[in-house]
């Protein structure tokens, strides 16, 4: 192995840190999957595991700081005239450590120490509004809050006690003419189209003056939870989310000429904004709204990759919602940051 790479790996991850990471994974698995004490949630486990790449980010920041104090930038010029070698090795080292950390996250499950929780469906409240058209047709407007997986469906409770339409003639349909026939005493199940899932909003309408009453408080969105074999895929998504962040950290440090710890904090802020699920709400006006709008603008400037970090109890809402173009854009951003990091810069004076 390249001595530079070997040195970087040893410096970032000495045995004390290796033990800490192993203990952290064991604790996370115990808190999540233990038969009597655990939360029995794959999302919670993924949330605990996602802390480790962040720790790694700050750890690399502190190593970069230490190296700067030891005069590494000056030595790098002597070692390699193009200035590519050190940042490339740091990036490869970061990728190796990130991959190893996430592989370690699979160990408690793969080893059979803990069983995976049974996959069930997540049920989420839905915001509903009603409007009436000129012909008396009522429109049901659903706001799902954000992009949801394509496998999601709406479950609607319809009150037939004042219905003027017979069950044979009753229809609930969308503007694109997809329709479902409601049956008295059964939930109306509406499978979302790709566009509805992406936008997170949809409109349904029953027959004109049908007398069907939608029970607003009982509308739910059902999302099938990823099954046990989804763990490697979800961890790979975390890998894709965090990898460009390490390149951004190196770019901040080398191009921005700022301390490694400050670079790590700035990268952490970018990651927090990138992981923010945007909900279509009216932000209003005022200084707070202006700040929120600024954050939304930064978020919109980044590729939509919040689905890559599908963690927490509501992880099924985010899992598998990231478009491939978004992933490509995010990786390209990382590539650009790496290119910036490898550009020859004269060392700092003093």
């Amino acid at each position: 192995m390249n001595p530079l790479l070997k040195g970087f790996l040893r410096e970032v991850m000495p045995w004390t840190w290796q033990v800490f990471f192993a203990l952290a994974v064991c604790t996370a698995a115990s808190l999540s999957f233990d038969a009597s004490l655990g939360a029995h949630s794959l999302g919670t486990y993924l949330a605990y595991i996602s802390i480790l790449p962040m720790v790694l980010l700050f750890r690399i920041g502190s190593v970069l700081d230490r190296r700067a104090q030891q005069g590494w930038p000056h030595q790098e010029i002597l070692r390699n005239a193009n200035g590519h070698k050190a940042p490339l090795n740091e990036m490869i080292g970061s990728a190796i450590l990130l991959g190893a950390t996430l592989l370690l996250g699979m160990a408690p499950i793969v080893s059979g120490l803990y069983p995976m929780p049974n996959p069930s469906s997540g049920l989420y409240p839905v915001h509903v509004q009603f409007t009436t058209q000129d012909d008396g047709t009522e429109l049901w407007l659903f706001d799902l809050g954000s992009t949801v997986p394509k496998t999601a469906r709406l479950l609607l409770t319809v009150d037939w006690s004042e219905a003027t339409v017979s069950p044979e003639n009753a229809v609930v349909q969308s503007p694109d003419e997809r329709q479902v026939r409601p049956i008295p005493g059964e939930l109306v199940q509406w499978d979302l189209s790709e566009a509805e899932a992406r936008v997170g909003k949809l409109v349904l309408q029953p027959n004109a003056q049908s007398g069907l009453i939608l029970r607003k408080q009982l509308c739910r969105l059902e999302i099938p939870r990823p099954e046990a074999d989804a763990l490697p895929r979800l961890l790979l998504h975390q890998f894709l989310f965090f990898l460009p962040l390490f390149a951004i950290l190196l770019a901040w440090f080398r191009c921005g000429r700022i301390r490694g710890s400050l670079s790590a904090m700035a990268t952490f802020t970018i990651a927090s904004i990138a992981a923010l699920p945007l909900s279509p709400v009216d932000l209003g006006s005022g200084p707070v709204a202006a700040l929120a709008k600024m954050l939304v603008l930064v978020k919109l400037a980044l590729p939509p990759v919040e689905g890559l970090l599908a963690t927490g109890h509501r992880f099924d809402r985010l899992a598998d919602t990231t478009p491939e173009l978004g992933i490509m854009g995010w990786l390209m951003l990382g590539g650009l940051a790496l290119w910036l990091a490898t550009r020859r810069r004269p060392p700092r004076k003093g």
Binding site: L31, S32, L37, A39, S41, G43, T44, A47, Y48, S50, I51, M54, S121, G122, L123, Y124, P125, L155, T157, V158, D159, W160, S161, A163, I183, P184, G185, E186, L187, R215, Q217, L218, R220, E222, C255, G256, R257, I258, L262, S263, M265, A266, F268, T269, I270, A271, S272, I273, A275, L276, V288, L291, A292, M294, L295, V298, L309, G312, H313, R314
Partner: protein, 203 residues
Amino acid sequence: MKRNLPSAGQILAIGLLLLGLAGASLGTVQPLGARSWQGFQGWWTLRRFHQAESDGDLPAMLELGKQHLQLTGQGDALEFAAYHVAYGASGPSSNRLPADALYWAQTGLQALEESQDLLPDPWSSLQTQAYTLVERVFPLTYDRDDLYQGLRAIEDRLAAGGGIVQSSSGLSQLYRDFLTLPDSERNPFILKRLERALIPEDE
């Protein structure tokens, strides 16, 4: 005197950091790792809920059930607490004074109603609501609104066929039978069904 001005990179990094901090304090941005903290809080709340259950601390059970729902989106703890408080603690076997029994029944119901918008499986809580109103609250208040509210909750449960978790073709058929009746016979029909469910067939 030599003065070091901050570089463009430093200004940008600090500006971004301040923007993130302000966003986090306003709740617009969730810092990375916040979901892990929420997961841990949810786990800890459930541990405290079980402790309150073994201590028989009814108000704490309700409060922790609500907290668990807020943190994790799971309603099992709250539904269990509400059933325990509203239906169990107000029942004849609890040997409480009528005013005390009514207080607990209404407290449990209030917790359920306040959280109905958030409960993942609202159809199962309708059953607790209906039975508490009809069997516990109405005999103590003789308020017709309480009775009708209970009947309404059961009607909603029937309209959903029992909901997604406890769906039953029997409930769906019951709702179709209910719809064939004239308005004046609908409430007595549901009440009769409720009473039949409350009293086992062999008694």
